[in-house]
Symmetry: C2
Subunit: 207 residues, 2 copies
DNA sequence: TAAGTAGGTAAATAATATTTACTGATTGCT
DNA sequence: AGCAATCAGTAAATATTATTTACCTACTTA
């Protein structure tokens, strides 16, 4: 379903080996991000938390941000695996979009670090757009666009709205609705949010 | 219209005097952000660009981020003044929302630094949510919610969608649609984007 | 068995942010 | 008029943090 060759290539390349030190560093970053801002973390803290020396971080990663991108990549891989499962057996573009909305909200709601990284921490650096994590994001985006186009083609979705705008509306709405979760740790009710957002985007706000 | 007492208080407090050095620092930050990322700027660069010494920056601002927040505040003040004008003489909640959508897109489209700061640079720090800039954002948000509630009350807007979600959909969609403008400097056609987004949000994507 | 390489360390260095102690000019006050 | 305060600003020291360097050990493999 989602598993275009490209995707699995990236996803397998890492899983193979990875020395313990590298994993410890990624885990340390993830742990620290639980209640701290990326900017506020120091290399020394990360090293201490991981139980390695600072130098080792530079052996495996270009810089502090590079570690962040690897954490995001791991999260995004899990996310895509889950989405792939969630989508199985679902027919119709609108039904697929509905499920994707639910799954995305569920992800942000239950994986706050993931939400914070992608909504708040990476998009402000140029390196991100060169990273493998971003390659996964683009891949996912292409799949969404395909679903939207399918919906337009078969008459489920209005044909006078460019698919890129529809995608922006879907993800913009989801992300904005989860922003307070990411920033202030407010809770999000997945089912309610998914229901309201789907209803809103499918039928509009006008009476 | 927008000019609740609170707003004007903040907006006037700054305008009064402000020593030349302080203004030069804010302008330097704005200039540098034109083609550089906030993180990549150094205090020394900012000082050189402003034509002042590094020490002076700390005389007027708590730290580097504090300068950023002041730049945003200035931009946001202008934005609110413009929105206030744009809204004059417009009746009906949907008409007002439509105009706000247009004005917001126009702002992001023609003020890329503003878009970058608010979409990419500030939301990842705790200090931001303590800043005067954020106070303006909250104020604006409250006004939007009021308009939405007005629309629900008078039957223009469906009553089964919580107003907070409607606001999130509006701003989420706008922001996502301007993200590539902010990040990659892609151009945005204000009129087209406003038309599509309004149509999409008002009537939904379903055929 | 020796050459390379992978995983790792400790300490030096470089880059940046922030603080401190200090001017000279202006302003309000009796 | 004279004189504290305060304001705008500087220069240099210091603190913090990121990054580089040189090295060590164990393990493969040819």
């Amino acid at each position: 379903m989602l598993s275009k060759k490209y995707l699995t290539d990236i996803m397998e390349s890492q899983t193979v080996s990875s020395p313990p030190g590298k994993l410890k560093i990624i885990n340390a970053m993830r742990t620290l991000l639980d209640d701290r801002t990326f900017e506020s973390l120091t290399i020394s803290e990360i090293a201490v938390t991981a139980g390695v020396t600072e130098g080792l971080i530079y052996k495996y990663f270009r810089d502090k941000r590079d570690v962040l991108h690897h954490v995001l990549r791991e999260h995004y891989e899990q996310f895509l695996v889950q989405i792939d499962r969630d989508l199985q057996g679902i027919d119709g573009a609108l039904n697929k979009l509905k499920k994707i909305i639910w799954s995305s909200i569920e992800r942000y709601a239950n994986h706050r670090v993931f939400a914070r990284i992608i909504l708040l921490e990476v998009r402000n650096s140029e390196e991100y757009f060169q990273s493998e994590a971003y390659a996964l994001v683009r891949q996912f985006n292409r799949i969404i666009i395909d679903i939207i186009n399918e919906g337009i083609a078969n008459g489920e979705i209005r044909e006078n709205l460019p698919s890129a705008y529809i995608r922006n509306a879907i993800f913009g709405t989801i992300e904005h609705s989860c922003l307070n979760r990411a920033i202030f740790n407010e809770s999000v009710s997945t089912n309610e949010a998914a229901k309201v957002i789907t209803e809103l985007l499918f039928n509009g706000i006008k009476r």
